[in-house]
Symmetry: C2
Subunit: 408 residues, 2 copies
Amino acid sequence: MGSVPPRSPLAPAGFPDLPEVDGVRFATAEAGVKYRDRPDVMLAVMDTGTSVAGIFTRSATRAAPVLDCQTKLGGSTGAGAAFLVNAGNANAFTGRNGAEAVEATTGAVASVTDVPVGRVFSASTGVIGEPLSHGKITAVLSDMAARLSPKGIDQAAEAIRTTDTFAKGAGGTFDVAGGQVRIAGIAKGSGMIAPDMATMLVYVFTDAVIGQDALQAMVARLSDQTFNCITVDSDTSTSDTLLVAATGASGVDVAGDAAFEKALHDVMLDLAHQVVRDGEGATKFIEITVTGAESDAAAKTIGLAIANSPLVKTAIAGEDPNWGRIVMAVGKSGAAADRDKLSIRFGDILVADAGWVSPDYREEVGAAYMRNEIIEIAVDVGIADGAATVWTCDLTHGYITINADYRS
Amino acid sequence: MGSVPPRSPLAPAGFPDLPEVDGVRFATAEAGVKYRDRPDVMLAVMDTGTSVAGIFTRSATRAAPVLDCQTKLGGSTGAGAAFLVNAGNANAFTGRNGAEAVEATTGAVASVTDVPVGRVFSASTGVIGEPLSHGKITAVLSDMAARLSPKGIDQAAEAIRTTDTFAKGAGGTFDVAGGQVRIAGIAKGSGMIAPDMATMLVYVFTDAVIGQDALQAMVARLSDQTFNCITVDSDTSTSDTLLVAATGASGVDVAGDAAFEKALHDVMLDLAHQVVRDGEGATKFIEITVTGAESDAAAKTIGLAIANSPLVKTAIAGEDPNWGRIVMAVGKSGAAADRDKLSIRFGDILVADAGWVSPDYREEVGAAYMRNEIIEIAVDVGIADGAATVWTCDLTHGYITINADYRS
């Protein structure tokens, strides 16, 4: 991995001050799987009565831990739950060794906690295709279990990083119908980011009371509006995992509570935006809003075609208001469009309207807008009411530098 | 456009020695639409009795000349045909002005030749969204018509270039069942290259005798094996046009002649490969062969997922044998795959087999292979008999440099 890349210019000022979530305890350790002198293992243990919901990559070559999590989801909430993550090795495409490593590490977590192995959800992130030295992880688990603490979510966010240039966290204390609940989440991801899922690893904890089925349905809904609306490079991880744990420790029931769903949405969207802000080589945060499409799904298709277009992304990197490339991306998306009804805005600037450049548009105004760090592109397709918003970053020399030399 | 980019390291030694095709005459001119001191307009005029077949971009925002060509295709062969191309301005997303420019330029060709306007096929390539100064083109057409010559296909190939670093031509004299025929083709394209069509502009001429319907069917078939199997950056042009003209001047009937179809295939594939070899910033020519897929279509889907993956393309740019990213791309393609039946080869080197790295594989052997200029990747999905081959290039700093500053 060589030296740590410099912090993204789009990174937030620092890690947020997250609330402690009753019923969740964390520990991290330096197992030395790949990295040296930094934490690379994270363990979170939740009390009995915790609901767990999850969303995973749809990749046909998904990693062993993902397959294991998928089989465990929906299990009994009676005995608590645990999340185990290691960074540096993805334990993906590692044949039989992959499943053995999952069995060994999740079994070891069960043996040092009171969580049954069927409720231990593991994830591995990093290089694909190298066997995971799971002995290095199991060797530190006993000590980790002894150090579990309700504090330390910031250290947990640090421990799950790979090429991330900053640790990602979001959360807060929220008023809902039944009282106050706390939500705190962490994420990692900066490359190989595309729907579905548009992240690598995300863990969100809350002390709200909500049944597992209701939580799963809510998380699936919110994923489609958050993590599945971001893309860095159109590549899809073999390891993408989102897990949400609700311990119920607050005693506040949030089933059917719109305020809770809004709060969880906002935490998830914040984390999703942070993943984009840490996009490999990113210098611009780009929000693309598509309206007037045939359907919401068509709007999302168009939005992602723009967001994934290398020519759009390089133009923005070069601060070039090259709206012709947006027209191109709309055209290639496969969604219904009528060239002569299309309009395009950069921020508040009407660039193109009714199939041609706006008579009032001036190139120098567009060029000045492109010097912003946050770029808002609005496309109105003009044929119906479908709408969607997606987020991405620009494509720069930094992306090439990072990815042409990742393993050396 | 600034200075001319250096010739691609993957370029052929020079422009090939192409046969003259009876019944076709060329002229080029410096109209100064955008470029200065170089030819930027190409006119080809074919004798009466010429069949014309065409394949066009499927973009929903395709340019005015493409729409015009599509309506003209299938017209009478009685009166010859003409191809008019200008470089520097794509006449795309130019509203009503776009259709007016096509009407003006094709009408002007008709007025200075004996070709009716319904058989004048135009194309424009270059920047999107700027009105085409069609007066500059019509002003030079009379002089061009006076200079039409059976020689000069090499100058025609020069005149249609935009960001191309070399002029592209392919062809030869071929023995077919009925005698000898000549085929000569030219192409331009280096960015915004993806199916369908995977090129920008291609013109192929032959003196073979073949009816328009038979030629159209053959060209559609061959496009799927050639231009629709290449990708540079997954972006789709608004202007992609392939036109094939058969003048019949040889008197050799090639309807149903497999040797002719093979010859035309080879010319088209040669041109397609040259487009990849001129991919913006390319330093490696990459051939991806997928076998064992659920169907040929599934194999092509997997091949293009690999070919379009920024992470695969940057790894190859960095000469990193990062086969894990190929596993990732197979997984994200959406086509059926079984992780544990997958095998991957670099050239003759078995890298991964049955879901894991091959026990005989050595990283240094893979790394040495990656230093080649031509990289062959073979993926066997291991579940059925579907096969496909696609071609692409690597993703380098050169691509970013070219595309972050195209218009300035």
